[in-house]
């Protein structure tokens, strides 16, 4: 589904990603962990298409497309979804109108007619029920005045509505208490259907207790320096990142 090959990226001339290689197959859940400043958020930003990052080398293939050639909106329309670490508050834009526009823009891109208003509302209601969202969401402005937990749950709800093929979750656990973390994870697990893939970016292991990954990768100084299964995350939780840093430094 996603194939990252020797990806290099920099911001304001400073190199952050120094040759990332990663292969994600349909239905797989990959976790990327790493200390602060390792390049975790840069990786998600580059994949989503943030303009301030410059890709200086490598390729990214997403379902047969050269991902790096696509605009952010076309990446989304092809089935990529980024759950933001800090979802943006947009006063005056209702969640309903926002989701309807997003869904219909995607349909247009794929040559489909826009969804009828009543069909859309029915679809939205069923997804809200499934994801256990509060009814007041529909009339509220997008993320405006939402608590940290509500914002993250709303990201997962958008995911359910837009039905992406690959979800990138950027530090979704940051700022969440344990109850909110459980709710958000439950939502994500509902969306695991054996086809949809996930790239979960996190600093801490605790999120991975709820969203159990198939693979765990450790990012350090812009490269993946270690990969393993879910047990690697547990090991990191106990031993911290220092032993990996030492291993890397020793190898150099």
């Amino acid at each position: 589904m996603l194939s990252i090959n020797n990806l290099h990226a920099s911001i304001e001339g400073k190199s952050i990603l120094n040759g990332i290689n990663l292969e994600i197959k349909p239905g797989e859940v990959h976790a990327i962990m790493g200390p602060n400043g390792a390049g975790k958020s840069t990786l998600s930003a580059v994949l989503a298409g943030r303009a301030e990052y410059e890709v200086t080398g490598g390729t990214v293939d997403f379902l047969g497309n050269n991902l790096l050639d696509l605009s952010p909106e076309n990446r989304a329309r092809e089935g990529l979804f980024l759950a933001f670490q800090y979802p943006v508050e947009i006063p005056g834009v209702s969640s309903t109108n926002f989701l309807k526009t997003a869904i219909n823009e995607k349909r247009k891109y794929h040559g489909q007619d826009p969804m009828e208003a009543t069909d859309f509302l029915k679809f939205m209601r069923s997804k809200m029920e499934e994801m256990e969202m509060d009814k007041s969401l529909t009339s509220r402005s997008l993320n405006e005045g939402f608590s940290g937990g509500e914002k993250k749950r709303n990201e997962v709800f958008q995911m359910a509505m837009l039905e992406p093929k690959l979800c990138i979750m950027d530090e979704t656990d940051s700022g969440l208490d344990i109850d909110a973390l459980r709710l958000v994870s439950q939502g994500v697990n509902k969306l695991r259907d054996g086809e949809r893939s996930f790239l979960v970016i996190t600093h801490y292991q605790r999120l991975l207790d709820y969203i159990v990954p198939d693979f765990v990768h450790v990012l350090y100084k812009g490269r993946i320096v270690k990969s393993g299964d879910a047990s690697l995350a547990k090991e990191l939780e106990i031993k911290g990142y220092d032993w990996i840093k030492q291993e890397v430094e020793a190898a150099i």
Binding site: P72, F81, P91
Partner: protein, 428 residues
């Protein structure tokens, strides 16, 4: 003939045949002031960015005649779409065929100034000319040679069931038009009313509309006042609105400027009692070479009053906007709460904004803030929307509509808001 010469000659004609009563005296005084001060120039601080030259050099005709029938006038306005009381003026003159009156309370008055100054002389003269200052050149010009306008009088304790829409239609199909609408609104104690000023124009000749509104709101009364400027074409429009409010009054004022080649709004609140609540909201979306100037002044003359002012602008093409908001907190006005914001989004490199939020505070126990911003649309919300599959263009539209609707929604007539939101979308 320049505009000033035309006013002199017109006034002399009028003076010859006028009945020399109190009403005439007021106008004669105003004319003397006009002769003395003339039209404001850019040397005047309040007119620094606003040039009247194009207007003062034009040849306009003062004429009631309109070749248009009621049907086409209806279509030109938004008159048939909203259920409300209607009083309609075409080129400054009453057009009775389009008037609609829905109130069943006979004590509530709505008529033309021409009728009011005879039929309701005492009520009318008790307020006429008391609030608008003739030191202002364009006010003096209006007072000396006003066309006509609406007189709305809501007696003590009465609540109007429907809004009053005062529509001014400029018909500049045949010739350049000068009109000077003059409205007087009196809301007595504990009464309430909603007033909509609606300006539209047809035809390609230039026109100058010089409006003066005097509004008196007595204790415990409530006023909703909306001004909607949709006069397309080569229209020049100056509007001076003086609101004089006594204690415990609530006023919500919204000014929407969508069309018009040259628009200057002067809005002045004078809070003459304690516990007044005044809200001033404005939106302007100029494009092409449009020029829009919003000047406002809020006088906090007494303690414990609240005012909140928010003006927003979206500028396109080579358009220009001016915002000048002055909050004056008098020595007596302790415990004043006054807020003022002016936010501008520039969509073009060639658009210009001159903004000047001002606070003058003479009391020592007050809470006041003011501020102005000029910028582009924020990157973060844009990226967020695009990352959900929404194109750059659609994302911009969503964000700009949200920015503008925030002000449009301050209008409490849902049918009107709906019409205006569609108009806003057209402009964006």
């Amino acid at each position: 003939m320049s505009l000033s010469e035309q006013i002199s000659s017109d006034f002399n004609l009028y003076a010859k045949q006028a009945i020399k009563d109190e009403f005439f005296e007021l106008r004669q005084n105003a004319f003397a002031q006009f002769e003395k001060n003339g039209l404001p120039t850019t040397k005047n601080e309040e007119w620094k960015y606003t040039n009247l030259r194009k207007i003062s050099e034009q040849n306009f005709t003062t004429s009631c005649t309109s070749s248009l029938d009621a049907k086409s006038l209806l279509d030109a306005g938004i008159l048939n779409k909203i259920e409300c009381n209607k009083i309609v003026f075409v080129n400054g003159c009453l057009f009775p065929d389009l008037s609609v009156w829905l109130e069943d309370d006979a004590d509530i008055i709505c008529c033309s100034i021409a009728e009011a100054r005879i039929k309701y002389k005492d009520k009318f003269m008790a307020h006429f000319g008391k609030y608008a200052k003739i030191e202002e050149g364009l006010n003096a010009m209006n007072t000396s040679l006003l066309s006509d306008g609406a007189f709305v009088f809501v007696p003590k304790g009465k609540h109007m069931k429907f809004p009053v829409m005062i529509s001014n239609i400029t018909d500049a199909k045949e010739q350049g038009i000068l009109q000077q609408p003059r409205n007087l609104i009196v809301i007595e104690k504990s009464a309430s009313a909603t007033i909509v000023e609606n300006y539209v124009a047809i035809g390609n000749h230039p026109s100058f509309t010089n409006v003066v509104n005097e509004i008196f709101v007595d204790e415990n009364a409530t006023l909703e006042h909306y001004k909607v400027q949709r006069a397309k074409g080569e229209t020049y429009h100056n509007n001076y609105t003086q609101i004089f409010q006594n204690g415990h009054t609530n006023i919500n004022q919204v000014t929407l400027t969508l069309d018009g080649q040259w628009v200057r709004n002067n809005l002045h609140f004078y809070m003459n009692g304690e516990n007044c609540n005044s809200l001033l909201y404005g939106l302007y979306i100029p494009d092409g070479h449009q020029f829009v100037d919003n000047h406002s002044r809020v006088d906090h003359a007494k303690p414990n009053c609240f005012s909140d002012e928010k003006y927003k602008g979206i500028l396109k093409d080579q358009s220009t906007a001016v915002f000048n908001g002055k909050i004056m907190v008098h020595l007596d006005a302790q415990k004043t709460n006054a807020y003022q914001r002016n936010q501008n989004i520039l969509l073009s490199n060639e658009a210009t904004v001159n903004t000047k939020p001002q606070l003058e505070i003479f009391a020592d126990d007050v809470k006041c803030t003011h501020g102005a911003t000029i910028g582009q649309l924020d990157e973060e919300p844009m990226f967020y929307l695009r990352s959900r599959g929404i194109s750059e263009n659609e994302a911009r539209k969503l964000l700009l509509n949200a920015f503008a609707d925030d002000i449009a929604e301050k209008i409490k007539i849902p049918e009107l808001v709906e019409i205006l939101e569609a108009e806003i979308e057209r402009k964006l």
